[in-house]
């Protein structure tokens, strides 16, 4: 049988037989180099001419810190109208955190001219409208309900049961608006530790992530905290995934739901083989520093010399000496051994199974670091790359800022913020390029209550005098 022919017959659609490009432009598009094509369809810098995926969705954010706010910021970047509700005059406690107490933007609120919003607040609430409301007072209740009626969903982070006690929990809002999607995010959720407070760092510790990050204690290392509030952010995005799935289902059925999301659980979720290995064999996964438990060579090494010995900034001057090296496949490893002039290493560890063993790894990485002892970071990267091996420097914030790659892709860029001026951003656009409905960054944040008139008057229709009265009473 002639199989080529058979297959041709079976084809429901042969690309060659399809009607060809319909215009010269389309023809060009099909012919241009792939990279040019990507640049053209993603078109960084021109996001605002394209539609927004979540246009028309309105979301309430009764959140604080990073975790739950981020679940909403994702929606706001995708085009939803999001309303952040804060305590009058005070705002989200996260506004009052700043690295080394050094970096703030002003104003926070006219009544507090000496207080700013710290950079700790960055990226967690972008593009949102900021209003104030004190839920504790009875007058706030109808206002809150009105917002619920006008919105598609809400994310909250109060101690479980608090909103329920205030009669604004899921059990109440589902009566008012059955399409409403209600999200509670916190540390634990229902169960014996329901009222346990949570932070990012608690998630890292409690969930097991810290136990596998850092150098092994036999080497003098300790359980290491991931920089940043990474579990807060990462868990927030998983809430967004859950919200979007719920929105999709609501699109078909018209029904809302309640999502209870625990960030501690989310940290355990990324631990890969740790759970199945323990469950089946009783082996407890440990730390393995900058190497990889399953691949070798695939790790970060230290070079003897820094790249910038004369730089003023200590991070450049002392830390520009780490390189990611990867050569786990046989040919790569063989070449690496040649480069570092240790061909015997290759002859002793010819198979990956042999070299990924723990004693082999200790020996191999030591040999690489010995070779790098009289070299700078950039020398090591250059030599390895010239030999065809994968290697890259461990970059710092300055180097990321200066990196052409991110500038071209639009994932690090400056924004002319409507109220705060010239702000460098590395969020939003960087979460992913979308050719037709890209994310966009409008503003970083707004002062406390900056949109009270916009929301209470322009959306809910309250008279200006009532807004003034609510403000005077400290209700908004």
């Amino acid at each position: 049988m002639d199989w080529e022919k058979e297959i041709q017959k079976l084809k429901v659609c042969d690309f060659e037989e399809l009607p060809g490009p319909k215009s010269k432009e389309e023809l060009e598009e099909m012919k241009m180099p792939f990279e040019d094509y990507c640049k053209r369809v993603f078109d960084p810098g021109n996001e605002f001419v394209k539609p927004e995926a979540l246009k028309g969705i309105r979301w309430m954010s009764t959140t604080m810190y990073i975790f739950t706010p981020h679940s909403v910021a994702n929606l706001a970047e995708l085009g939803a109208e999001c309303i952040k509700i804060e305590m009058p005059r005070m705002g989200d406690p996260m506004r009052h955190t700043s690295p080394f107490n050094e970096a703030y933007l002003y104003p926070l609120h006219d009544t507090r001219p000496m207080t700013g919003t710290g950079l700790g607040f960055t990226n967690a609430n972008v593009n949102e409208y900021f209003i104030t409301l004190d839920y504790h007072v009875p007058e706030a209740k109808p206002i809150f309900y009105n917002l619920v009626k006008m919105s598609d969903g809400l994310t909250e982070c109060y101690r479980h049961g608090t909103f329920d006690r205030w009669k604004q929990g899921y059990r109440h809002v589902m009566e008012i608006n059955p399409r409403f999607i209600y999200v509670w995010g916190g540390g634990f959720g229902y169960g014996p530790k329901i009222f346990g407070g949570s932070y990012d760092i608690l998630g890292q510790a409690h969930a097991g992530l810290a136990s596998i990050t850092g150098c092994h204690e036999d080497m003098g290392g300790h359980a290491t905290k991931a920089t940043n509030w990474v579990i807060d952010w990462y868990s927030g995005t998983q809430i967004t995934v859950a919200i979007l799935a719920a929105l999709y289902w609501r699109g078909k059925t018209g029904l809302g739901t309640m999502i209870e999301f625990s960030q501690v659980q989310a940290a355990t979720r990324m631990m890969g083989y740790a759970a199945p290995l323990y469950g089946r064999f009783g082996i407890v996964r440990q730390r393995w520093g900058n190497w990889d438990t399953q691949l070798c060579v695939h790790g970060i090494i230290m070079t003897g010399k820094v790249d910038f010995p004369d730089a003023q900034n200590p991070q450049d001057r002392f830390e520009s000496r780490y390189v990611m090296v990867s050569a786990f496949q046989d040919a790569d490893f063989q070449e690496l051994c040649n480069v570092i002039k240790k061909p015997d290493l290759y002859s002793r560890y010819k198979t990956h199974k042999e070299r990924v063993g723990a004693p082999a790894q200790i020996e191999i990485y030591k040999a690489i670091e010995d070779w790098a002892a009289d070299k700078t970071r950039s020398e090591v990267v250059r030599i390895l790359r010239e030999a065809g091996i994968l290697a890259a420097p461990v970059m710092n914030d300055r180097e990321v800022y200066e990196c052409e790659h991110y500038r071209l892709r639009g994932t690090v860029r400056w924004n002319d913020d409507p109220l705060f001026g010239d702000i460098l951003i590395h969020s939003g656009y960087s979460t992913g390029l979308m050719s037709k409905t890209p994310r966009r960054h409008r503003w970083q944040w707004r002062p406390v209550g900056a949109d009270n008139v916009k929301i209470y008057h322009e959306l809910l229709g309250y008279p200006m005098s009532k807004i003034q009265e609510l403000y005077d009473k400290n209700i908004i």
């Binding site: 050094e102 002003y106 006219d110 300790h222 003023q312 002392f318 400056w414 900056a450 003034q468």
Partner: protein
């Protein structure tokens, strides 16, 4: 004594050192060697295991220290203190983001590429009803001196794209 060394060295003239040297947990959790008092320089041999002083602190007159504390203070002397990184007294804490350490709000008027950013206080009042704000920083009106400085920077070519 344990993971602090409260140095009571007699300094003569009836004076006592009375300095608390803080032996930070990650460095000293399992550690053996000689540490110097940040104030009087007395060298103590210590051997710490799991945060406990297994041996020491024992004075080692005339010997060189292996290490200094990161921080030390004198609670009985108005909390006089030695910050990290004072040569011969404390060792540097190598996690600084710049060559200088402020520890208080940095008054910034221009971003690193020379354009205005609202990083200084106080800012003039600018809110409307109930704290509401528009979507336009009227810098020319609110902070004319910064606007002027910005024009000057543009003239000098100090304003960059990156």
């Amino acid at each position: 004594m344990c993971d602090i060394i409260w140095c009571k060295k007699d300094l003569g003239d009836g004076k006592v050192c009375d300095t608390v040297n803080y032996l930070d947990p990650y460095c000293f959790w399992n550690w053996e060697g000689k540490v110097a008092c940040a104030h009087c320089g007395t060298v103590y041999y210590i051997h710490m295991i799991q945060g406990h002083m297994y041996a020491g602190p024992d004075e080692k007159p005339g010997e060189k220290p292996d290490i200094y504390p990161l921080y030390a203070d004198q609670p009985n002397n108005g909390y006089f203190n030695y910050l990290p990184g004072i040569e011969g007294r404390t060792r540097p804490y190598t996690c600084l983001p710049r060559h200088i350490y402020l520890g208080k709000a940095d008054m910034v008027k221009f971003s690193i590429r020379g354009r205005p950013v609202r990083g200084w206080r106080p800012q003039p009042p600018s809110a409307g009803i109930a704290g509401s704000q528009g979507f336009f920083w009227d810098i020319e009106k609110l902070s004319p001196e910064v606007w002027e400085e910005y024009q000057e920077r543009i003239r000098k070519g100090e304003v960059k794209d990156w």
